[in-house]
């Protein structure tokens, strides 16, 4: 089967979910472009989900997003529709393109639709039994299909063995949201068909994604780093509270600030946990943990938060839900106290906390300002060097944090999860928008 033939019949499982909808969008657009160039073929994309309500929402999402994509490639559309005399204006071509994409998509709530697919993208909930069950069911009716799973933490070989899909499965791990994030982690098993891998690379290239190969260890590179980095942050906050005799909310505030302002990250570590979702984190850690021999990836604090129903994550509008931190119009206004089971306003401790951390060196730069910086390395070197030579509590916490972050990265390489330090850094730079990779020499 050629690349184009493989894409003639595709299914996305969990298509109405956060990741599934993005994967569906990108794939639908790619397939529509192939359809426009191969008029004698018929391309079909099944959007499969158990929730019909969510599928209806998916169609709304598609229409809005395809319009944005179409507006950006209007020059291409004018060339593609050159022979269509009925289409004259940009607006007419954009509308037509939206319809051309939508007409490939078949939203359905029955798994049988996947029985004819050449390719299945799986993005259902992170539940290994569910994933195994679905793969098995499809396999029994379909002997040519390839599986692309978006699992964040289940080793691919586990799915391969238990579903009995030897050689026909690959981890194709998009980042959230798939339509925006450039990074994809690609995870083979030892049996993965080389043709399947070749296809995956070509597909990623056509979607303009950056591929980083990861080896098949639970959590892969991205979550492998993030989960450990977050756990370190939690433990640092607990230790800080104890050591300095301050409240946990204050300590959380301080570690969040150090990880953002001192380490020049897009957001502090607790805000990132809220963004990912405390439930998602706990879940992923639970999936990863059984596969880890020499460490315990677990946090009582996360369990407590979950018990108290504080979960973070996003509303369907994309707005941030409250988690460790409370947000008002995107600003952090309070921090959760699990003992009191309530949020404590930042104003109650911010002044004392900032005083304890001390002044940032004058060479400090914001994460945002590094985005377009041409001499980023030079500027960061100077700032981090000043931090290294500073006596403040903030600087000390930052150096310790950065060194741990590097150690996590190096361990991913020595454990064979990542092939090399560059791959770890690429994942953190592109998947987590860090301004510099964790494996660096700034803090040695």
């Amino acid at each position: 089967m050629t690349y184009e033939e493989r894409l003639e019949n595709v299914a996305v499982l969990g298509a109405a979910g956060k990741m599934g909808s993005g994967i569906l969008l990108l794939t639908a657009v790619h397939m529509a472009d192939l359809q426009l160039q191969n008029k004698d073929k018929t391309y079909v994309l099944y959007a499969i989900d158990v929730s019909n309500k969510a599928l209806t929402g998916l169609m709304d999402y598609l229409r809005v997003q395809v319009r944005k994509i179409a507006e950006k490639k209007i020059n291409w559309l004018r060339a593609v529709y050159e022979d269509r005399e009925d289409l004259v204006e940009n607006g007419e071509m954009i509308d037509e393109y939206i319809f051309d994409v939508m007409k490939i998509v078949r939203p359905v709530d029955v798994m049988e639709a996947a029985y004819k697919a050449n390719l299945v993208f799986e993005a259902v909930n992170e539940n290994k039994d569910l994933k195994v069950k679905l793969f098995k069911q499809i396999k029994e009716h379909n002997d040519k299909v390839w599986f692309f799973t978006n699992t964040s933490s289940v080793p691919i070989h586990y799915l391969e063995e238990n579903a009995g899909v030897k050689g026909r499965i690959i981890g194709f791990h998009f980042y959230n949201p798939p339509a925006v994030q450039k990074l994809v982690e690609l995870i083979k098993t030892e049996n993965t068909d080389p043709e399947l891998e070749k296809f995956a690379l070509e597909y990623a290239k056509n979607l303009k994604k950056i591929i980083v190969p990861s080896n098949d260890f639970a959590g892969f590179i991205g979550n492998g780093h993030f989960m450990r980095d977050a756990l370190f942050g939690i433990n640092e906050a607990l230790a800080l509270a104890k050591e300095k005799g301050i409240s946990l909310p204050q300590a959380i505030y301080m570690i969040n600030k150090v990880t953002q302002d001192y380490l020049v990250r897009p957001m502090g570590i607790f805000q990132l946990m809220d963004y990912v979702g405390i439930d998602v984190m706990q879940f992923i850690m639970n999936v990863m943990n059984p596969y880890l021999e020499d460490e315990d990836l677990h946090s009582d604090l996360l369990d407590t938060m979950m018990e108290q129903g504080v979960k973070g994550g996003q509303y369907s509008s994309g707005a941030q839900k409250d988690g460790f931190l409370k947000y008002e119009k995107g600003k952090i206004t309070a921090v959760y106290d699990p003992d009191k089971k309530e949020y404590v306003p930042v104003s109650e401790f911010a002044e004392e906390a900032d005083k304890m951390l001390g002044e940032l060196p004058e060479s400090a730069v914001s994460w945002k300002s590094t985005l377009k910086m041409k001499n980023k390395d030079e500027v960061l070197s100077k700032f981090f060097n000043d931090i290294k030579n500073s006596d403040t509590l903030g600087a000390k916490l930052a150096v310790k944090y950065a060194k741990n972050s590097k150690a996590i990265g190096e361990k991913l390489v020595s454990d064979g999860v990542a092939n090399n330090a560059d791959d770890v850094n690429t994942v953190m730079l592109t998947g987590f928008f860090h301004a510099y990779g964790p494996i660096n020499n700034y803090f040695d």
Binding site: E71, I74, N75, R78, E85, V88, E89, N90, G91
Partner: protein, 414 residues
């Protein structure tokens, strides 16, 4: 045409030209609609002329309200400006980007025909109702609909990009780009002197360098122009009154505070045909020559010119159409600073279409308001020197690709 009786213009007013560049512009927030602009400009003019009772007729210039704002039948908006215009005549005129110029000459004709002594000419366009990619479809209506299909997504930038491409080929790329960059530079510097200009808030320390460095890239825009070579999308209105000598007396304005129309020319090219020579704006050349011949002056008598620089290359070609520089040397003339506010013939002294803004149907009227401000000493920070031996001002307003052109020559009233 040299008017057979004295015709004056006075009491000019411009709203702010709203769009990208203005601090108060936020594409995500609701903005004032057409009623706001029509009222603001109309009421400001009425106040200067002693109220609506002194106005006999209203001429409204607009290009595409039917598409930008879902509104046609524009004469009906005249009485909304002021009840005093109720039951009085009004008309709307359309000639694409040349609508404003047509509105002025329509007003002049009404005074000449003695059907009115005081005509309010008001132009407006509210374009920020849609994204640029759809706005391009609307603006393409200024060309022939049958060539839209094979045109560029950004139809008009595409047309002038093609002209620029031939011009580069014939007269040299770098030399032309230098002139175009300087055209942009002057537009920005001049706009900063007029608080209503769209680029008033622009703080670029060296607009020339920015424009000169930026290379056209067909992959992201069009082949031979950058975005800085183009006028922007604008919401605005401009208005003034056109009067007879009696009319001026009626509204109580001194001749010194008015400009006199010395001559005017409407020249039209066949919209269904391509320009004969893409490196020349022939219709503009003919209109300018005709107006100057009727006025009995040459380009050397001009103190200032407002020309239709929807694209910087159009500014350069207008310099040549005026005869200020031979064909192929317009860019050098501009690069040497001769069109700057302190140059030989200052052009577009409040920024022109690129710097002040291009609210399509208002543009021709805005040009006349600027000339009126300059010749009567009312241009504020943008005021240039009007030499006593070169007292004339000129406006050149163009609709479409050199199709619907109006050229008017003015002098301060005496």
């Amino acid at each position: 045409m040299k008017p057979k009786k004295k015709i004056y213009m006075t009491a000019g007013y411009n709203t702010v030209s709203l769009g990208t560049g203005r601090k108060e512009f936020n594409p995500k927030k609701p903005r004032p609609g057409i009623e706001h602009y029509i009222k603001e400009a109309g009421q400001a003019v009425l106040e200067k002329v002693g109220g609506a009772k002194n106005v006999d007729e209203t001429v409204i210039s607009n290009f595409m309200a039917p598409r930008y704002n879902r509104q046609a039948n524009l004469p009906g908006f005249a009485p909304m400006i002021d009840e005093g215009l109720l039951w009085k005549p009004a008309v709307s005129v359309e000639g694409a980007c040349g609508s404003g110029g047509l509105g002025l000459t329509t007003s002049i004709r009404s005074v000449l025909a003695e059907t009115a002594d005081v005509v309010m000419a008001l132009g407006f366009e509210v374009q920020n109702t849609m994204k640029a990619v759809y706005g391009a479809d609307v603006l393409a209506g200024a060309g022939w609909y049958k060539v839209r299909k094979k045109g560029h997504a950004h139809f008009f930038p595409g047309q002038f990009s093609d002209r620029a491409g031939v011009y580069y080929e014939k007269y040299g790329y770098d030399r032309t780009r230098k002139g175009m960059a300087m055209w942009y530079h002057n537009a920005i510097i001049n706009a900063r002197k007029d608080p209503t200009a769209q680029e008033y808030h622009n703080t670029n320390p060296d607009p020339f360098a920015t424009a000169y460095k930026m290379q056209p890239n067909g992959k992201v825009f069009v082949d031979h122009l950058t975005v800085l070579d183009c006028s922007k999308v604008s919401d605005a209105a401009s208005a003034l009154v056109v009067t007879s000598e009696e009319g001026l007396k009626r509204i109580g304005v001194d001749k010194k505070d008015a400009v006199e129309v010395i001559s005017f020319a409407n020249v039209i090219r066949d919209i269904t045909k391509d320009p004969t020579d893409p490196t020349e704006l022939e219709t503009i050349r003919r209109a300018v020559q005709q107006a100057m011949a009727d006025a009995g002056i040459t380009a050397k008598d001009l103190a200032t010119v407002e020309t239709h620089d929807c694209f910087s290359i159009a500014g350069i070609m207008a310099v040549e159409a005026l005869g200020l520089a031979p064909k192929g040397e317009g860019a050098d003339y501009v690069a040497e600073g001769k069109t700057a506010a302190d140059g030989e013939v200052p052009m577009n002294t409040t920024g022109g279409l690129i710097g002040w803004g291009h609210p399509v149907g208002a543009t021709g009227v805005h040009q006349a308001v600027t000339i009126w401000q300059q010749l009567t000493g009312n241009a504020g920070d943008a005021q240039i020197n009007i030499p006593a031996d070169r007292p004339y001002g000129m406006t050149i307003n163009m609709g479409g690709d050199d199709v619907t052109v109006t050229c008017i020559i003015y002098k301060r009233g005496e």
